[in-house]
Symmetry: C2
Subunit: 324 residues, 2 copies
C-alpha cells in the first residue's frame, strides 16, 4: 500500500477523455443522461509544485477558453477535487475540445469530467471512479447553477444513467439495449441553457404528469428489456419539449423526418439546439440523412454524429509519463 502510494505520488502527468452526452433523453428530464462517445474532450494534467490550477494549451473545436477557474469548467472541477483531497501540489491543464459548446451535447460537462478523471490519477490515494461525480458537478456549476446532473453523470459513467435521487450514491447506469444507435444533429443555431430552463412552467397539469409518466416508464422498461415497442412508446417528451419547441422552429420538421425514416424517437438533446434520435442500426443512415436534409430545408446547416447507446464513459488515456 505504501509502495502504491509512492508510485501514485510520482506520477506527474495524466490524461483522460470524456464523451459528449445527451441530457434529458426524451422523457427523462433532469433524471436520465446518455453518454455519446462519437465526440470526446480530452484533458491532460501536469503536476506542478505551485498549488491551484492553471490553463495550459487549448486545442480542438473552440478558439480558446477562459483561464479563470470560476469561468472554466475543467479548471473549476480540477480545483474542487484538489482542494477536497488537500493535494500538496497544483496542476496545469491542457484541454483538447472535441465536444462543441452551447450545442446541447454536454460540452461543459465533458471537460469537467475529463479534468477530474485525469487529476484523480495524480492523487496519492485516487478516489473510486463514481466518487468523482460531485467534483465534476462543481465544474458544471460554472455553466449553470444549480448544475443539472444529467450530462455530467452520463459522461462520467457511460451508457444510460439515472439519478434516482440528487445524490451521487443514487446515480447509476441502467441497462441499455444493444444494437441501437443514437444520432445527434447539431444545427447552426443557438439556445442558451439558462434561458431554456427559465421558460419552464412552475406547475404541470395532472393529466400531463400521467401521460409523461407512461412514456418514462415505457422507455426505461423498454431499455432494460430490449423491447423496441416499449422504447418507441416511451421515447417521446410531452413534459418539456412542448414548452421549448418555439426555441427551435425547425424541430417539428426534423422530428417528423426522423420518425418518418424509422427513428424510435426524437427530441432535443439537453435543451438543444442539437436534436437526437434513437434508431436500430439498419435505419440509422436513413434517419441521419433525413434529419440533416430537414434542417437544410429549414435553412439551417448542421453536422451529424452517431454512436452506440452502450458505451464506457470517461477513462484514462495514455500520456507520456515523466517519473520525477
Amino acid at each position: 500500500m505504501a509502495g502504491r502510494e509512492r508510485i501514485g505520488a510520482m506520477r506527474t502527468i495524466a490524461s483522460a477523455s470524456a464523451p459528449a452526452s445527451i441530457g434529458n433523453v426524451g422523457p427523462g428530464f433532469d433524471i436520465l443522461g446518455q453518454a455519446f462517445d462519437a465526440l470526446k474532450d480530452r484533458v491532460t494534467v501536469h503536476r506542478e509544485d505551485a498549488p491551484g490550477v492553471r490553463l495550459g494549451k487549448v486545442t480542438g473545436c473552440v478558439p480558446g477558453l477562459p483561464a479563470e477557474p470560476h469561468r472554466n469548467t475543467a479548471l473549476a472541477a480540477a480545483l474542487a477535487l484538489l482542494e477536497s483531497q488537500k493535494a500538496p501540489f497544483g496542476v496545469r491543464l491542457d484541454v483538447d475540445k472535441g465536444v462543441p459548446v452551447s450545442a446541447g451535447m454536454g460540452g461543459s460537462a465533458a471537460s469537467a469530467v475529463a479534468a477530474v478523471v485525469a487529476v484523480n490519477a495524480l492523487l496519492d490515494k485516487p478516489l473510486a471512479h463514481g466518487a468523482l461525480l460531485p467534483f465534476a458537478m462543481e465544474g458544471e456549476r460554472v455553466s449553470s447553477d444549480p448544475p443539472p446532473w444529467d450530462n455530467v453523470m452520463a459522461s462520467l459513467l457511460g451508457g444510460l444513467v439515472i439519478a434516482a435521487r440528487l445524490d451521487a450514491a443514487h446515480v447509476q447506469q441502467i441497462p441499455a439495449p444493444e444494437g441501437l444507435v443514437s444520432i445527434v444533429v447539431h444545427p447552426d443555431a443557438e439556445i442558451e441553457t439558462r434561458a431554456a430552463r427559465g421558460i419552464l412552467k412552475p406547475t404541470i397539469p395532472m393529466e400531463t404528469v400521467v401521460e409523461h409518466s407512461r412514456r418514462l416508464a415505457a422507455f426505461v422498461a423498454g431499455c432494460a428489456a430490449s423491447d423496441l415497442k416499449l422504447i418507441r412508446d416511451g421515447l417521446d417528451d410531452v413534459l418539456v419539449e412542448p414548452q421549448r419547441r418555439f426555441l427551435l422552429p425547425a424541430l417539428p420538421a426534423v422530428k417528423a423526418a426522423a420518425l418518418g425514416a424509422g427513428a424510435l424517437g426524437c427530441s432535443f438533446s439537453g435543451s438543444g439546439p442539437s436534436i437526437f434520435a434513437w434508431a436500430v442500426e439498419a435505419d440509422a443512415d436513413a434517419v441521419e440523412k433525413a434529419m440533416v436534409k430537414a434542417f437544410k430545408a429549414e435553412g439551417l446547416k448542421s453536422r451529424s454524429y452517431r454512436a452506440a447507446i452502450r458505451s464506457q464513459g470517461a477513462r484514462l488515456e495514455p500520456a507520456m509519463e515523466t517519473v520525477a
Copy 2:
C-alpha cells in the same frame, strides 16, 4: 377450422379465475398495475338460449351482488363481450367472490376479468386473451367512470403491467423480479374510490414531477434489471400518496413499520384502504407481522395476504362440461 368452431359452439359451461390486483403500484399512478393472486374471483358461465346476462349463484366473501348489469361488473363485462361478438346466446353467471370489494384490491376488476375470460370460452371464435381488455374495462366502468385501467389489465395479464398508452394495444406485461413477494394488508376501514380520485389536485409543481419521475424510472428499471437498490429508490409515491394520506390516518405508522422490518417500499394499494409492501422473501414474515401489528396499535383490525410478484393472471379453470 369449421370443426373447431363447432366444438366451441357446443361448449355450454366455462369457468375462469382472475386474481386480485394492486393498482398504481407505488409511483405508477394510473399506469402500473400488479396482479396479486393470493386472492381470486371465479366466474362460471352457463350458456342459455335467452340473450343477455343473468346473475346466478353468488358465493364467497360478499353477502350478495346486484343483479342488474349496469350495477354488476361481471354482468356488465360479460354483456359487453357478448354484444360486441353478436353471440347468438346469453349466459347465466355464478360468481364466487374471493377478492373483497371496496378494499383497494381490485375486487370489481377481478369479477369483470373472470367473466370475460369465461364468456370468451363459449364463443364460436374466441378472442385472443389480451383482446379481452376493453370488455373487462366495460365491467370496471360500473364501479368508476371513466374506469381506471390498472387493476383490470393486471388481473387479466398477470405480473406487473404497464399502460404505455390508454389503448389496449399498448398495454403489456413488463419484467418483474423473481424472488420478491408483495404483501397486502386490508384494514377494517373504508375509502371510496370516487372520493379518493376527487381529492387529487389538478396541477402538480414541477419539482414534484421531477422527483416523482426519478422514482418511477428507478422502480421500473429496478424491476426489469432485478436491482433491489433501484427498486428501493423507486418504490415510493411522492405524487399521489401525500394527497391521500389523510384518508387513512394509520398509513404513516404502518408504512414505517413495514420499512423498519425491511420492506423495499410500501404505499396504498390502489386508492386504499389496503396497504401493500414489497419485500424479499426472507423479510416477508417480519414485514407482514409488523404491518398488522401497526394497524392494531392504531385501533384497526386487519387481514394480511402474500403473493409472488410474478404471476399468471386470469385463466380458464376446469368446469363440468355439458355437451349438448
